[in-house]
Symmetry: C3
Subunit: 206 residues, 3 copies
């Protein structure tokens, strides 16, 4: 067991772990979205909204802690960035589910399932990595793998764009679906941003 | 009359008050946009551009002050964020008016008036709050209310999206109108961001 | 010849010069895009991707240097911002070329050539200015001119939007082309952001 300097430092780690666990829950709801019928989707959107509010609470707790602490376990700007980007992931995932319900999308184009699987995998890795911020050990595989996943998400997103514009969709339909696949791509970018911030923190400490 | 520590500290407060007053002027021009005929709109767009330039001058003055001051009344990053986000609000409001003129929009969909009223109310609260940064008092009602307004803006924006995609608009028309309602939503987000930065500043000082 | 404090300080300047030279190479590939046939475009997209990867390497080297240096030649946040925004320019330019190929655009609308010429001119000025960060001299013409170019880019972009929506394009086509002209406009904004960061650095030091 590691000696704890102050109770305050401890709770930053716990708050980041909570935020990342919440992101993982959100990504599981996204997975459930695939193949869900209309009624289930409305239910999923509500549970997603609850998860997003829980994320807001975690972010707010981190900011409050940050603003009222003299000493922080890593640079203030890095804590701010890490919390903000974890919060962004939840916002993007919640927006995606919300748009599917709002636009009454019947069938998501093939490829969206791959986007969501990549997000789920990134969420697992992130939730797994956050508790290791305490010891700063074994984090490099995490950020390398998340960067690899983001490249994969990028390829899937490009293929989806080409598919949406191949002439088989009406313009209005393209607009709706493009907004959804774009927001899922933004979620993948935000995961990479979290991983890059973790790398920054580790490099500074080493 | 309050004792002033240095002339420099004073002027940050004055510059933020100027920037927020300018945002309030911009939001009044947005209100005038509703129901204005084509000729008046062109005139409003010009006055909006002038207001946006005045905002740029205020932002530039704050950055210049920031970069040449050794001592600042609150954290440099917070001053930077506050000025940048106030500037963003003006940019988004100016862009909205500009797009209405550029795209020759005949009639704005119902709901845009509500978006603009929320922005006007947020601008009033913000202009009212900025001078209180000096004493740091009675600012919590401000940021709570702006967060509430942003949630309201979000709901209005979602309803507008559902309306635009309900089949009564041509695809090209949806694109034009969506760009306008999205940029108004971005203005509402920027107001919330200003309020969150003010909260950050107050929490740090307390 | 200027006395060098430490080898470390030197290499920030060199890394920024490398990043800006790389942006200039990217802008030349954009210029070649105009009037290129389909086969050449695919080749250009590949060379652009290589340039973007070289940019990533430069950005990563700057961040690594930043995170492992105790002393930096200017404020850490300014170094971070400068590197990030140079990186953004490359990303936007690469995305533009990629979209032209992905969407199989036959003919770019008149005005895109002007957008690209402005980007090329801004890239020349930026690559020319970066080495002068070492002495901090003669940089004001650079940022004034880049701000002027961004205003010009803005005007060109607005005219392009009006053109795309004038009724001569199908909705699907408008969507594709709008995405391309928007991302080129974002590249122009990022050049302005780089120039503003350089101004910040110089004002702090003066």
């Amino acid at each position: 067991m590691r000696f704890r300097l102050t109770p305050r430092e401890t709770s930053f780690y716990e708050l980041f772990a909570t935020a990342a666990d919440n992101v993982l829950s959100g990504s599981k709801l996204l997975m459930e979205l695939l193949g869900a019928d209309a009624a289930t989707r409305v239910d999923l959107a509500e549970r997603m909204r609850a998860a997003e509010h829980a994320g807001d609470d975690a972010t707010h707790a981190i900011f409050h802690q940050l603003n009222s602490s003299f000493i922080t376990p890593f640079d203030r700007e890095d804590i701010y960035r890490l919390a903000s980007r974890l919060d962004d992931i939840m916002d993007f995932m919640e927006e995606a589910v919300d748009l599917v319900v709002l636009y009454g999308i019947d069938e998501l184009p093939k490829g969206v399932d791959q986007q969501i699987e990549v997000l789920f995998r990134a969420a697992e890795l992130t939730a797994d990595a956050m508790p290791r911020l305490r010891t700063m050990r074994n984090l490099d595989e995490y950020w390398i793998e998340v960067n690899r996943l983001e490249n994969q998400a990028d390829q899937i997103h490009r293929k989806l764009l080409a598919h949406l514009f191949n002439g088989s969709y009406e313009a209005i339909e393209v607009m709706k679906l493009k907004q959804i696949v774009d927001v899922l791509e933004e979620a993948a970018d935000a995961f990479e941003s979290v991983a890059n911030t973790v790398e920054t923190i580790v490099v500074k400490e080493s």
